[in-house]
Symmetry: D2
C-alpha cells in the first residue's frame, strides 16, 4: 500500500502513519520528495484497511498495490476453471448455451420450451420461479411449483437446470431442485446471500450488479469462494448508463477483462442487457467473439403474452435459427457451442 | 398508455393491439397520422403491462401516461407526511438530525458518542449492528450485541434509534431494539425485504440505490406502502457516476424532485455520498437549503481507528460546531434543526 | 407530439396549448381521461419545439412521436449507404479496416507503418496530425507536416487516408491532403464544425461523443447531412461510465441499434474504447460479430515510445496476426475483411 | 510516479523501466515485495508521460503522485482568486448573480430583462448570441446583432455582460462586446478554443463538460492559465448520469471539491443542470449553501415563447422573489448576494 501525504505533513503525522502500519506487522518505507512525502507499507496489505489511512488528516490518497480479492484471481490460479454439471461444461473450449423462459409460467409451457431449446442444442435450461419485480403489483413467480416443473424439464431433456435464488429463506427449496443457483444482479452485493451460497456444493452464476465495477463483482465472487464454493460462473448482463436506447449497456469489454484478472468462467446474458429481442443475436455473437464461455438467452413460445420480459424473449424457432449462426462464430474462435 | 406503431404496421397488427387492450377492460382510441399510427389505451393503465406491448413486432414504443406508483405519490395524498417517533419529528418544519457511528463498535463507544451528539442537538441516534461490507475479510458488525448498546443509548439520551436491517431472518431481533428501521442502498430492490418491512408498524428509512432512478426508488417505497406501512422516509445518499473525486455523486436535485412527486419526507446522508469528512458539512448545508427534511451524519470519537467508514466520520466536537452553522441554514429556509 | 397535462389543468390552459399547436399549422386531438388530459398534435411535429410545451405550467410531459432526425434515418432511406473511396469500401458486405498510428510522428514512421498495415490487409490508413490532448503540456501533433507524410503514405500504398479535423480554421489544409475527414468524440457537438464538413464532398467519420446518446449522435449526423454531405460513417468508440477497468465502456449494442435506426455505415474503434492493447482484438472481434462495417485500430512500431496512445497501440506484427483471426469472424457473418 | 509491475516481471524488464525514467532526468527507487515489484520515479513527474509506462508489457498500473495541473491548483496559490469586472466581484465574500435570457432574442427583450434583473440585484447580465443547438433545424442565435443588444443592456444597467464563444473565428467580434467570455460545456475540451481565450485579457467562465471529471475540468482551466489568462471562473452545470427526472445531475459536491483543489472561483448554473424552472431555486440555494461564489440563472419575460430553454427560465418577478430567499442563504454562510 502506498500512502501519499499532503504537502506540509509534519514529522509527527508521518510517525503516526508509520506506527499504524507497523501495528499490523508490515514494514515501512518512507520517500521524501520535493513536493510530497510517500509512505510504502511493505508486506501483506490485505491486513490493512485502506479506509483507516484515508481517514487521517495528513493523507492525500492511498493506493492499493495488490488486488483486494485473492482466491478468484488469476494470480491465485493460473488455469481456467472449468465446471461440469450433468455432463455439460462451462469453460474451456465450450460455449455453454443456457436457454429457457424468463419465468416458469406453467408445466406445459416449461416442458414445451425445454424440449424445443434442448433440440436446438441448448446445454442448460433456465427458468425463474422466484422473480424480483420492480412493481409490487407484477407477477412474482410460481415459487416451488415452478421449481418442480423445472425439475421435470430436466428429467425429460437430461439437461441441468439453473434458477434464481433471491432470499436466504428459500435456500433449501431451491437447492432441492436446481443444478445451478443464480444470484441476480440486484443481489450481487447481498452479502448474506453470497455467504450462504458459498457453503453449498452447487455451481453459482453470479450476475454483475447494475452499477457494479468489475472489481466489486470479483469481490462478491470472493465472498462465495471464501466460504469454500469455487464453482462460480460470472455473468455480464449490462450496466446502467445514460444511454436509453437499450435497457442497459452491455459491457462486452468485461469479458476479456475478467478473463485477464480471474480464472473463473464468464458468460453473457444479452436478453437482460438489451431488453429487446432484435438485439439478442448481435450481442450473443459479440460476446462469443470476445471470448465468453457461454450465453444465456430467454426463449418464450409467445413473447407477446409472457408474464415477464416478453420484449426480450425469442420464439423457439428464432432461437433455433440463431444457434446456427452463433455456432459459426464459436467455430471462428475455436470453440463449440452448446450441448455436448 | 400510448402505443406508437412502426411505420407500415398492418391492419391486422393494429387489431391485435386493440384486442389486447380491450381484454384488460380499457377502451381504445386510434389516431392514424401520415407517418405513424398511434393507439391510446383509455382507462386504468396500471392494469396493462407495458412490456406486453413492447414485445409486439409492430410496436415502436410505448409511453406510460400515469405514474407506476400510486400510494406514495403526491396525487394520492396532497399533504406532506410527517412522522413522529418518541416525540422527535421527521417532516414539516423540522430538519431531523440523525447522528452516530457507522458501526456500533462497543458499549462505551456507543454511549459516549450517543451522549455527545444528543447534547449537540441530534434528534435521532444511528449505529449499524449488521454491516454490508464489500470485502468478506472486513468487520461485519456486532449483531445483537450492537443492538443492545444502541438501545442503552436510547435509554440514556431519550432519543429514538435507527439501525439497518439487511436480512429478512434478522427482522425479529432488529424490531426488538430499533425505533426506525433502515434499508440500505444495496437492498433498495430487495423486494422480499421491502415486503417484510411493509408489514411492520415502525418507520422505515429507504435509502436510494446506487444506480436507482427516482422512479425506481418511489416504486420501492410503493412496495412497502402497498403492504400497509406508510411511515416511509426516503434517504438520498449519492448515486454512482463516472466522477471519482467523491465516492458517489450526491444528487441534491433528488430532494426537490421527490417533494414534487411524493408526500413522503426525504432526508440526506452526506457522509455516504462523499466518503470524505471535509465534504460532509457543505453537502448537509446544501441538502437543507434544497429542502431536505433531515440529514444523517456519521460521528466517531476517533475516525482514524473506526472499524468502518472512518474517512467520512466527524469527531463529536466537529459535529457540534457544524450544527451551529447548519442551524443558520435551517433558519434561512424557515425550519428548525434537530431535537425538539 | 403527445402532451400530457397535469392533473387539474383548467379549460383555459387546455385552450392555450391547443392554440399554440394550431399556430404551427398542426391539428389537435384532445382526450380527457379520468386522471389526465392528453393533447395530441397531428401533423409534422418537427415544426414544434418540444421545449416550448415543456415550459408551460400545466404540462406534465411531452412525448415526441417522430424521430428528431430525418435524412439519416432508416425511414428516409431503406437501403444501406455504402461509401467507396479510392476503390475501398465502407458498408455492404465489406468490413473496412482502418489502421495506422495515433499520431503521425515522422515521415519514416508513417511510411513504415503504412506499408506494414497495407500488406496485412488494411483498407484505409489513419494518422493524426492535429491532436486533442487533455494536457496543455503534451504533444499536439505535427500539423501540416504530418498531413504531408500521410499523403505520401497514400502514394506508396494506394490506400485512402483518414485524419482528424479539430478546428474550422484547418479545413483547407486538411481537405488538401485527406480522403476521409474524422470528427473526434470531443467535437461531436461542435455544431459549427459539423456544418462546415457538411459542405464538403468528402466522407466524414463522426465519432460518438463520450457521453452522447445514440439519438444525439444521429442528430449530429443530421447536421452534416442537412448541409448536403451524406457520406457519413458513424464510429462507436466507447462511452463514459463508472467502470474504470477500461478507459471507456465500449457500447457494442450501439452497432445493431444504429443499423436499425439509420442507413449509415457504423464502424468501431476498439483502441480508444479500451485504452489497452490486449483488449483491442476481443473488442474488434465483438464489433464485427455484432455487425460493424469496419474497425479502426491503432498500430505503432514501438508503442512504448509512442508520443500518444501507446498503451492501446498494437505492433505491426501483432496487427497482422490479429487480422488473420478477425477475417474468420468476418467470414462467419458473411463478410470480407479489409482491402479489396 | 509509482509504477507497479506485474507478478513475474523479469530483471531485464525492470531495467528497461528504470532507464526510461532516468532518461527524463528523474531518479529511481525500486522496492521488491513478495508479490509485486514497485518502482518509484522521484523528481518532477510532469516530465513523464503516464501512458508511456502503461504501454509496457511488464507494467500492471501506474499511479500519479502529483496532480497533472499546476497553475490552477491550491498548492500553487493558497489564496482564493477574486475577479472584479466593472466593479462587480466573483469570489471572496460575494455571491455573484448572473442573470438574463438563454438567447438574446431582440433589442427590446434584452433591455427589458436586463433592466429587471438589475433592479432585482443581479451583478452580471448573461445572454447568448451564438447558440449551440442539438438540432440543425433550431434557432442558432442572433450573432453580432445579439451582442450589440447585450452591450446596450450594459450601458443601461452598468452591469458587465457575459456571453458564449463557440468558434475561434468569432473571437474578435465576441471580445469587442463582452466583458466575460463563456466557454460552454460542449467546448470544455475544445483545446484550440481554450488556447485562444488563454491569450485574452478578459475573465473566462469555463463550464464543466457534460461528462468531464473534476480533474479534466481543472486540466482545461490549466490550458487557459498556461497561456497567461488567470481570470478563470469555473461553472458547475450538471453532469450526465442515468437519472432522467432532471436533464442533468447537478454535482453539488463539485463546489467544495474544487475549492479544496483550486484557488479559482466556482459558480453554479442550476438552470442548465435541471432544465426545469421549479428546480432552479432549490439548487441555487444548495449551491450557495455549499460554498459557490455565484449562481447563473436564466430569466425570460415569457418562458413559454422562448426560442431556447424556456422550460428552465424564470419570469422576472419569480426571479425577484427568489433573490429575497437566496439572500438569506448567502447571509447564513456569511456572504452577500449580487450587486455591490
Amino acid at each position: 500500500m502506498i500512502i501519499v501525504l499532503k504537502a506540509g505533513a509534519t514529522g509527527g503525522e508521518i510517525t503516526q502513519v508509520e506506527e499504524k502500519i507497523k501495528a499490523h506487522g508490515l514494514t515501512v518505507h518512507i520517500s521524501r520528495g520535493v513536493e510530497r512525502t510517500i509512505i510504502g507499507a511493505i508486506g501483506d496489505e490485505r491486513k490493512l484497511q485502506l479506509e483507516a489511512f484515508e481517514g487521517m488528516a495528513c493523507v492525500e490518497k492511498v493506493v492499493r498495490i495488490l488486488k483486494p480479492y485473492k482466491i478468484v484471481s488469476r494470480d491465485f490460479q493460473k488455469e481456467d476453471t472449468v465446471i461440469t454439471v450433468l455432463g455439460q461444461k462451462i469453460g474451456g473450449d465450450t460455449v455453454a448455451l443456457f436457454a429457457g423462459p424468463c419465468s416458469v409460467e406453467g408445466r406445459e409451457m416449461m416442458l414445451g420450451i425445454g424440449g424445443q431449446v434442448a433440440s436446438s442444442g441448448a446445454s442448460f435450461l433456465r427458468g425463474g420461479a422466484f422473480k424480483p419485480r420492480t412493481s409490487p403489483y407484477a407477477f412474482q413467480g410460481l415459487g416451488e411449483e415452478g421449481l418442480r416443473y423445472l425439475a421435470e424439464a430436466r428429467e425429460e431433456t437430461g439437461l441441468p437446470v439453473a434458477t434464481e435464488l433471491m432470499d436466504p429463506r428459500d435456500i433449501d427449496v431451491v437447492v432441492k431442485y436446481a443444478d445451478v443457483i443464480q444470484i441476480g444482479a440486484r443481489n450481487m452485493q447481498n452479502f448474506r446471500l453470497l455467504t450462504e451460497v458459498g457453503r453449498l456444493d452447487k455451481p453459482v452464476i453470479l450476475k454483475r450488479g447494475l452499477s457494479a465495477t468489475i472489481m466489486e463483482w470479483l469481490m462478491s465472487a470472493e465472498y462465495i469462494a471464501a466460504e469454500g464454493n469455487r464453482q462460480i460462473i460470472l455473468c455480464e448482463r449490462g450496466v446502467r448508463t445514460f444511454e436509453s436506447a437499450t435497457r442497459n449497456t452491455f459491457d462486452v469489454s468485461a469479458i476479456p477483462v475478467v478473463k485477464e484478472l480471474s480464472h473463473l468462467p464468464v458468460i453473457a446474458d444479452p436478453s437482460h442487457a438489451t431488453g429487446k429481442m432484435t438485439l439478442v443475436e448481435p450481442l450473443a455473437a459479440a460476446a462469443i467473439a470476445a471470448g465468453a464461455d457461454g450465453v444465456m438467452v430467454e426463449v418464450h413460445h409467445d413473447p407477446e403474452s409472457a408474464l415477464s420480459d416478453g420484449p426480450q424473449s425469442l420464439r423457439p424457432e428464432a432461437f433455433r435459427e440463431m444457434t446456427v449462426r452463433l455456432r459459426k462464430i464459436a467455430d471462428a474462435v475455436g470453440k463449440r457451442l452448446g450441448r455436448v
